[in-house]
């Protein structure tokens, strides 16, 4: 299923784009295993057709959205920096649509404060889900204002092609100012909530993975000194920018918050 006509997007960076062989060969998709080459080797077993997203919780119009409906939203190109919590980064041309388009369709109620996402749970197709490496199914969440931000997209393709399975086919979140683990892959469920939920990584190691997970060169991870990053594949090591360089667009979302505490 190829997304239809694609408009040149807003917010795109003109930095050199990462080689697609690297972006599709070096993946964190723990459902298939912890190694970077597990997803490219194993993700072909994931069935993405048919696909739908179950929307529930604090919405006026809950229900199942078939992928076809989502692909009929106006799609645009977004060339974004992607900064992983593991201190590497890529520049990826995504195709997708603002998450706000979907939320506008399902109409969050006045009580909705958070948007939670869930990845497919299918241990027969995703071998690492048979272990307890993480609390499956993988869950991530955004505050509603973060979710409605025009930078936040649901991607349906990359490099002008439909998303490869290892990159989160057929539908994934992309939140470019947050560490990559927030950009949840292969989404099957979206829930609008009153209370802040706990993400899968946050549940596993709350001291290491915060709810906000904004890219922040001043907040260290126990294993990764976040002041610098390796720009794959050959951009060398560069300094990490606050909010991954998207501060002009998103810093206002966090005004008055201590980002050392709310990491």
């Amino acid at each position: 299923l190829l997304p239809r006509a694609v408009a040149a997007g807003r917010f795109s960076t003109d930095e050199p784009v990462t080689d697609p062989a690297v972006a599709t060969g070096y993946c964190n998709f723990f459902e298939f295993g912890p190694a970077k080459d597990d997803p490219p080797q194993l993700a072909h077993a994931m069935r993405t057709d048919p696909w739908s997203v179950a929307v529930s919780g604090e919405v006026e119009r809950p229900g199942n959205l078939p992928l076809e409906t989502l692909l009929s939203f106006p799609q645009e190109d977004r060339i974004y920096r992607l900064r992983c919590v593991e201190a590497w980064s890529m520049v990826i041309p995504w195709t997708g649509f603002p998450l706000s388009a979907l939320l506008d369709l399902v109409q969050p109620t006045a009580a909705a404060r958070y948007v939670e996402f869930e990845t497919l749970f299918a241990p027969d197709q995703m071998p690492n889900q048979r272990t307890n490496a993480l609390d499956w199914p993988y869950r991530e969440a955004l505050r509603l204002d973060e979710a409605m931000h025009p930078l936040t997209i649901l991607a349906t393709g990359m490099y002008g092609e439909p998303l490869p399975n290892q990159n989160g086919a057929p539908l994934r979140l992309v939140v470019p100012w947050k560490y990559g683990f927030k950009s949840i892959k292969s989404i099957v469920a979206i829930r609008l909530l009153r209370e802040r939920p706990v993400g899968s990584w946050q549940a596993r190691a709350p001291r290491e993975y915060g709810f906000f997970a904004n890219v922040n060169p001043d907040v260290r991870h126990p294993r990764w000194h976040q002041a610098t990053e390796r720009r794959l594949q050959d951009g060398g090591r560069i300094r990490t920018e606050m909010f991954n360089g998207y501060g002009d667009e998103v810093a206002h979302l966090y005004s008055g918050m201590d980002l050392n505490e709310h990491y």
């Binding site: 080689d19 070096y26 912890p34 970077k36 294993r223 610098t228 060398g236 090591r237």
Partner: protein, 198 residues
């Protein structure tokens, strides 16, 4: 009949093989799409493996009473250092790329400090690994100096623990092995002393 010389030769060449294999795989592009990371991790694992292997020699000698095995210890130890040196240089040059970045990481990150400390303890052992150094230091001093391998191993395992995420069980197995080796060594030394004082 397997002579110590044959054991030594086999240990020297056998220990070089995994390194050569990595070099070969690197050259033909078999290290994946981000070879720097593969080089970093694989040399680190090799250094740790050879560190544990060199420590295990004494234990195996004690168990088997087979003397020629002792000849494997020096090659294993020297190769442990060479793999650790490669690991350090890959981190410094290929991964960090700039002394300022490396310094910032070394100043702030526990796992870097543990790894560097382990390396600094191993360096004098590698430098004093020749027969000449042993004669110059005299045997009692040399033996005391080489007890540094134990704290070096503990630090190296701490480093491995701090950088691992899903490999923690493997590091724990190695830590248990290290404790077992250290206990057997202490027990053996005590028994030896007791026998000598009687």
């Amino acid at each position: 009949m397997i002579s110590p010389r044959l054991v030594r030769c086999l240990a020297w060449t056998g220990s070089a093989l995994p390194g050569l294999l990595i070099l070969g795989r690197w050259q033909v592009g078999l290290l994946g799409v981000v070879p720097t990371e593969a080089l970093l991790h694989q040399t680190g694992r090799l250094a740790l493996f050879f560190l544990m292997a060199s420590l295990a020699v004494g234990f195996l000698h004690f168990l088997s009473g087979w003397n020629p095995i002792v000849a494997a210890r020096r090659p294993l130890g020297v190769w442990c250092f060479l793999y650790a040196l490669a690991h350090l240089l890959i981190w410094l040059i290929l991964d960090q790329g700039h002394p300022a970045f490396a310094w910032a990481e070394a100043r702030m990150m526990r796992h870097v400090q543990l790894g560097l400390a382990a390396f600094l303890l191993l360096a004098p052992l590698a430098l004093s690994s020749s027969d000449r150094a042993l004669r110059w230091l005299t045997h009692p001093v040399w033996r005391r100096l080489h007890l540094l391998v134990w704290p070096a191993a503990a630090l190296a395992l701490g480093h491995a623990w701090a950088v691992s995420r899903f490999e923690n069980p493997r590091v724990m197995v190695m830590a248990a092995l290290l404790v077992m080796l250290a206990m057997s060594r202490i027990g053996w030394t005590l028994a030896h002393r007791l026998r000598n004082t009687r």
